[in-house]
């Protein structure tokens, strides 16, 4: 009893102290798990979401100063209108006219992912931004360099204080804020979702496509995330300029040669090009790959050793279904873009 009283007294004192010093505690931000979805993997107790943390993360995500020459932000390659993948680029563009070796993945429903990158090399969402920020063919900056730049900005001092209680800027706080922003990128309101919630119904081609999908695609592109988060070789031969063997570069195990993470098909209509190196420029290219062009090798997935039989009819119905996975509310949610930020429409995209 006495401890309870002591603790509540302390809490009261802390609250009044923060009030006196003009410091408001951050306002909690609610993370809603969509109905019938699994529990998220991210441990929110280690990084409680707050409005202030989210806003700080959003500012960082769009800040060009996170790159060495202020030309590239996270948002440069993760564009909201493309479900936070890159519109039209097969490989991502980095500083100094550099190219990466991979296609930028869409950023959505990250709270459910255990591992990041197409090879799963990164084991925590908070660690993920370290790589693009420091890689010489992405943003090319050092962590110390970013901290120095942010420390000189009074606005950031205010925002770090609002989110974390003091104006200290360190790697951990930058990454936690970025995670808070990225965790809120939940796509769960496509037509498919509305149909599943009983709010509307598929038209006939969509319904027929969904039946074909469940029969031929959903063992890997598992609902409701439309990925089972596993690593598989889908018969894409290695590109001899990229020499990207995927998961094997992480595990060092030959059995993982040419395996890449199964991408989610949510918002698939806007995330082209497809494939880990963006080699497919349309869904039709992907279907042609699965039914004709696959190169079956030792590590090709057991479900695909005979390729994937698809008729023209099936491709048509599947396309109709896949278009129901586009979540316009997500692609246009103004909360995900900083104030005054104009989302570049795709037709004036600058290369």
């Amino acid at each position: 009893m006495r401890t309870v009283i002591t603790i509540s007294c302390l809490l009261l004192l802390m609250i009044s102290l923060s009030w006196i010093s003009g410091l408001k505690p951050p306002s909690p931000l609610k993370f809603t798990v969509p109905k019938n979805w699994p529990q998220p993997h991210y441990d929110f107790t280690k990084n409680p979401l707050t409005q202030e943390g989210f806003l700080l993360g959003r500012k960082l995500f769009y800040d060009l100063r996170l790159s060495v020459d202020s030309t590239v932000s996270c948002a440069s390659c993760h564009q909201q209108f493309a479900a936070f993948s890159t519109f039209e680029h097969n490989l991502s563009h980095g500083v100094n006219n550099s190219l990466t070796t991979r296609n930028a993945p869409a950023l959505q429903n990250l709270a459910w992912q255990k591992e990041f990158r197409l090879d799963g090399g990164i084991n925590h969402l908070d660690l993920q931004p370290l790589m693009p920020i420091t890689a010489s063919n992405e943003m090319g900056e050092t962590l110390a360099g970013i901290i120095q730049k942010l420390q000189q900005d009074a606005e950031y001092k205010k925002m770090f204080t609002a989110a974390f209680g003091t104006s200290l800027i360190n790697t951990q706080r930058i990454m936690k804020a970025l995670s808070q922003y990225m965790l809120m990128l939940v796509s769960c309101n496509s037509k498919y979702d509305q149909v599943m919630r009983g709010e509307t119904s598929f038209i006939l081609p969509e319904q027929l496509g969904y039946e074909i999908f469940k029969q031929k695609c959903s063992s890997c592109h598992k609902e409701p995330l439309f990925t089972d988060l596993s690593y598989r070789n889908t018969g894409m031969p290695v590109d001899n300029t990229l020499n990207d063997y995927g998961r094997m570069t992480i595990t060092g195990n030959k059995k993982d040669s040419l395996k890449f993470k199964v991408p989610s098909l949510r918002n698939v209509a806007v995330t082209y090009p497809y494939g880990h190196d963006g080699r497919f420029f349309s869904l039709l290219n992907v279907f042609e790959h699965y039914r004709k062009n696959m190169v079956v090798s030792e590590t090709t997935d057991s479900l695909l050793v005979h390729k994937l039989a698809l008729s023209n009819y099936e491709i048509g119905q599947l396309t109709a279904f896949l278009n129901t996975l586009t979540d316009t509310a997500f692609l246009k949610n103004p909360l995900f873009a900083p104030d005054g930020y104009t989302v570049t429409p795709s037709f004036i995209h600058v290369h």
Partner: protein, 230 residues
Amino acid sequence: MALISSFVISNGHRRTITIRFKHKVGSQDLVLFNKTYTNPFGEPITITRFKYYVSHIRVTGADQKERTLSAKTFLVDEADSASKTLIFTDDGAAFQTLSFEIGVDSILNVSGVQTGDLDPLKGMFWTWNSGYIFAKMEGVSDSAHAPAHSFSWDVGGYKSPSNAKRSVQLSVPASLTASSDAVIVIDADLLKWFNATHTLKISQHPFCHQAGDLAMQIADNYANMFSVAL
């Protein structure tokens, strides 16, 4: 007399234990950049970076019970002289053995971004394949058939069977712990990286940049580099 010694064994005295790491190349002191040494295979080496993580520092007395001086993980960096001296306080009981781990606990490799010595900005973290670099020795050598004749041995790995964490146990003579404030100087000989449990030549292995067999061998070797200076 009995009274006094029991007083010391019980926790009456606060004592400071100072551990000072001294980096050597054979019998010579390590100088970064400006000095060229020769490794056991006659390969010339100039060292540009030398740092490693030390954790779970503990002492053991005659009762064989280990007492932890600190559960923290420290980065010892040749380029940062303050990092080479660690100071602890304990209850003053006698000890004969000093033990520590070279490396970072696996839990800290999978729990997001850490702060202080474990902040990824210290340059001891693999961003593309998450995990700490436990120890690194980098430099140039004419024997390195690599761009700019560079060689870099970055050792890490927290997953079985490539866990590169290694334990070190050193006997500490009574003379060093007798005074109320013990100062223990630990020599770390870089030449052991090349030749101890395994023979590793720069000409054969200019780079180690990931967990795996080579990292395990280098770790086996450098686990032997420490000795208490007398």
